[in-house]
């Protein structure tokens, strides 16, 4: 059984938003709703500036507050480690949305269920990478199986210092970030 995770090479993100739109199309996300986003954070004062580009999505946490809080079992872990939502079981209580430290969830207002990034579960089933990864122009998003020591993602995590967002909260995220700032040798 694979254990899926994503690595985001922040230095390669050029903020083109291809991921944001491809996600919306792939997953039929309603207007004005998003499963992934891109942050651009600029610090300093002219002309001494530095920028962090960071795309964010559901972290598919090992210790997921959303799964813990869900009163009906709609939010659950799959065997591949991903956090998924069984829409039929969702009552729309929104506790999961409030519980997510990463603000990764929203309500599908048309149908009322909670929604979020699924790592494109439907594409994984067809052997394809998530839509955002497949179209990431900068090659910033890398997806793969942590249980396979030879997978690209495992190699990258071995070779690079990496971090997860809000590690101290202890949610055990499965989206890893490398190269917070571009290399400027």
């Amino acid at each position: 059984m694979p254990r899926y995770a994503m690595v985001i090479d922040q230095s390669r993100c050029i903020g083109c938003m291809a991921c944001v739109v491809s996600c919306k199309r792939e997953n039929d996300v309603p207007p004005e709703h998003y499963r992934t986003r891109v942050l651009e954070m600029v610090q300093g004062s002219f002309p001494d500036l530095t920028t962090e580009m960071r795309s964010e999505l559901c972290n598919h946490c090992d210790n997921a507050p959303c799964v813990n809080i869900c009163p009906t079992g709609a939010s659950h872990h799959e065997e591949d480690g991903t956090v998924q939502i069984d829409r039929d079981k969702c009552v729309g209580c929104k506790a999961c949305i409030t519980s997510c430290p990463y603000n990764a969830r929203h309500i599908n207002e048309e149908h009322g269920y909670a929604d979020k990034c699924s790592f494109c579960q439907q594409r994984l089933a067809e052997g394809k990478k998530p839509a955002c990864v497949a179209t990431c122009v900068g090659g910033s998003r890398i997806f793969g199986d942590l249980d396979d020591p030879q997978s690209e993602i495992s190699i990258i995590l071995r070779k690079n210092s990496h971090r997860v967002l809000n590690k101290a909260i202890g949610t055990g995220p499965n989206v890893y970030y490398i190269n917070q700032y571009p290399k400027r040798a």
Binding site: I14, V20, R25, P31, F46, V137
Partner: protein
């Protein structure tokens, strides 16, 4: 849901055994569709959300396009599409599209139209064009265009005897650069794309080129690759762009002084002996003249002129030279900045030549080598021009794409001969030409104006007859020659049938030919038939293109780097790189670029500079659902200190007023450290004045509205548009 849990688990079990998730989702579009079964169809085609012509694959389910993906075989997309490419479905299903032919029913500009049949509309267009040609001569018919529809109407005009055809992509964009490089190297710096070998570059220099925001797919893929590898980026831009944020050197140059920096760099490169001596010796002419001419441009002087620290000027170019020739000074793209732009482009070309980047790994690859048999489907040669075309104006080096504003001027003045009808296809002239007042005046003085487009833009809604083209997802277009490192051929074919009463441009052009009695120039059968014959003439398997890969490579066409048996061919008179240009000298221009200072804004005025958003293509996509959602309006970037001084807060709406008293829509202020104090920046393409574009109308401000002043580059006719100064008026 599109998949069953059982399948998922089956797959999961499989991948536990070491299966790898595929980057390349298909081998053959047809085979992929068969594998998935049901009502799924995959159609390889070419994107037209911008003009990079990426290969796209449309997934069609039950006759609806549900997803667009990048074609992995196509070198412009490499399996990926940008935000706009992904959002192409939004253009296809945009309810604001032009849906049927329309004929003006009232005064021009009031937007009152009546629905017409194609037959009625085309008959009217043919009648009017014929009448004007009869009365004033065929040369009084002019055409402006952008993108693929141009070919079909160029055909109509040429068949009628007019050569007054111009593309704003020349004088309002990259023509200037192309001319300068042709003068220097005898080649444009690229056709399908700039021939920059970014993925192998050690140092990349960008003059205003805002990769990341200027979202050309494969080039950005390579740029990110270079950044990821740790290549050094030297970014010369008054604004801290996305590219600047990736750079080792950000040179926040005083706008309009780029040539000063370039000539100083050339001086340093030569005086410090950092140039590629062997290369310069072997491939160039005019080195000594250049050496002599740039002596006056010292770092001390440049520091003063450009307002950059001298150390930064010197260190950055030394760093560049350290890695030469595996470096590139990007030729740029949109070049109509200050009215002396050919010489800036020449300086860039000369610097590249001195560093020996042309034909070097990490520099600029050599043009792909391929010959295509000429093919015109048996159409007869065009009749000679009724009168010499005006499109080159008084500009000795204007290119064949033409100087758009010359046609506009002639339309207004009637000199040297009257222009009485315009055919405008696929370009929103009100947004692409400087000084909208003149564009409007020209349109008002026309006897007939026909527009062919997808959307009811401000320009289209001034036309007498509007002919609705279908989108790229609904039509065939010519087979495209794609010239990247290799040569190749790509296809555009419909994923779905045209919606509403819209038609492909080829059909409109062809029918127009028939109505004009020019049947021999009309399509023989249909465009697909023509494309098949074209493929045959080129020795390409059409079915391979149409059913399977959407793109085919021309074998042995990729010879990117100079080797002993792969020597560069320069198309100049001397057959060498002309550092010193006899051609320019012959027309009375500086044979080696000279720095010409330009006017700078006075107190409380800011130079208006503009650029692009990664999620929009000019003004074409603001109305597209998913792109509009991401960026509904533009912002005006204002330096933090200036904002504090003027008492303007971040997010506050302001109005800009230019030196001629012209004001724009209200626009949100982005108060930022990311821009110099003497200029303001906004993204081009917003502020539509087109009520039928329900989302885009009046959202954001239109930079073009404020560009009432422009300075024509005397060499090419390019319109320098970054010469407008604005003051900021706080909204009441």
């Amino acid at each position: 849901m599109a998949f069953s849990r059982r399948n998922f688990l089956k797959y999961a079990a499989m991948s536990a055994g070491g299966a790898v998730l595929a980057d390349t989702p298909f081998i053959s579009a047809e085979a992929r569709a068969q594998a998935e079964g049901g009502n799924v169809k995959y159609v390889p085609t070419s994107c037209e959300m911008c003009f990079w012509k990426c290969g796209a694959v449309a997934k069609v389910v039950d006759g609806k396009v549900v997803k667009l993906e990048g074609n992995p075989y196509h070198p412009q997309s490499r399996g990926k599409l940008c935000a706009r490419g992904q959002a192409g479905i939004g253009q296809l299903y945009d309810e604001d599209r032009l849906k049927h032919p329309m004929i003006l029913d009232g005064p021009r500009g009031e937007g009152k139209y009546r629905k017409a049949s194609w037959d009625e509309a085309l008959t009217l267009v043919a009648k009017k064009m014929q009448a004007i040609a009869n009365k004033y001569g065929p040369e009084s018919l002019a055409m402006m265009s952008h993108g693929s529809p141009g070919d079909y109407f160029t055909n109509v005009l040429k068949a009628m005897g007019s050569r007054n055809i111009a593309f704003p992509s020349f004088a309002q964009c990259k023509g200037i650069r192309d001319v300068a490089w042709e003068l220097t190297f005898g080649h444009k710096p690229g056709t399908s794309c700039e021939r920059v070998d970014l993925e192998n570059s050690r140092v990349i220099v960008l003059f205003g080129t805002h990769l990341g925001e200027n979202m050309h797919n494969s080039q950005n893929q390579e740029f990110a690759e270079a950044v990821g590898r740790g290549a050094k980026i030297i970014c010369v831009d008054p604004r801290y762009s996305t590219a600047a944020s990736k750079s080792s050197f950000w040179l926040p140059i005083k706008p309009g002084t780029d040539t000063a920096l370039l000539l100083t760099w050339i001086n340093i490169v030569i005086s410090e002996g950092l140039y590629d001596k062997e290369y310069v010796e072997k491939y160039t002419v005019g080195f000594d003249e250049v050496k002599e001419a740039v002596k006056e441009y010292t770092p001390e002087w440049a520091a003063q002129e450009t307002e950059l620290p001298m150390s930064q000027i010197v260190e950055s170019v030394r760093e560049l030279c350290r890695y030469a020739p595996n470096v590139v000074v990007h030729p740029g793209r949109h070049y109509s900045w200050y009215g002396n732009d050919t010489q800036r482009a020449r300086a860039v070309a000369i610097l590249n030549a001195l560093l020996g980047t042309w034909g070097r790994k990490g520099g600029m690859w050599l043009p792909a080598k391929a010959k295509f048999a000429s093919f015109n489907d048996g159409a007869p040669a065009y009749p000679p021009a009724s009168k010499p075309s005006l499109i080159k104006g008084d500009f000795p080096f204007a290119g064949g794409e033409g100087v758009t504003q010359v046609l506009r001027d002639a339309t207004i003045t009637g000199n040297p001969y009257p222009i009485k009808a315009w055919l405008v296809a696929g370009t929103n002239l009100m947004k692409s030409l400087p000084d909208q007042r003149l564009t409007r005046k020209a349109i008002d003085s026309l006897e007939f104006f026909v527009a062919i487009d997808l959307f009811p833009t401000e320009t289209v809604m001034l036309a007498d007859v509007i002919l609705p083209e279908c989108t790229y997802l609904e039509r065939h277009d010519g087979l495209f020659k794609i010239s990247t490192r290799e040569a190749g051929v790509a296809i555009r074919q419909p994923a779905v049938e045209p919606m509403y009463d819209t038609k492909p441009a080829w059909w409109i052009g062809s029918e127009l030919c028939k109505k004009l009695g020019l049947d021999e120039y009309a399509a023989k059968d249909n465009w697909e038939g023509r494309m098949r014959r074209q493929a045959k003439a080129w020795g390409i398997d059409y079915d391979q293109l149409a059913k399977h890969t959407g793109y085919v490579t021309i074998p042995d066409s990729e010879k990117p780097y100079i080797t002993e048996d792969n020597q560069p061919v320069f198309g100049t008179f001397s057959e060498k790189i002309e550092l010193y240009s006899d051609e320019l000298e012959g027309e009375g221009f500086d044979p080696v670029p000279k720095y010409e200072p330009i006017e700078h804004p006075g107190k409380d005025m800011f130079r208006l500079i503009y650029g692009r958003s990664p999620v929009h293509t000019f003004s074409r996509t603001v109305n597209t659902q998913w792109l509009w959602e991401l960026e509904k309006e533009n912002e005006v970037w204002l330096n933090k200190k200036e904002a504090d001084r003027l008492g303007i807060k971040n997010g506050q709406y302001v109005v800009l007023e230019n030196q001629d008293g012209v004001r724009c829509n209200k626009v949100k202020t982005k108060v930022t450290e990311r821009i110099r104090h003497d200029c303001v920046y906004m993204i081009h393409g917003f502020g539509h004045n087109a009520p039928r574009l329900k989302r885009a109308n009046q959202s954001g401000a239109d930079d073009q509205q404020l560009i009432t002043k422009y300075i024509e580059d005397p060499i090419t006719g390019g319109t320098g548009m970054r010469v407008n100064f604005v003051k900021i008026i706080k909204e009441a």
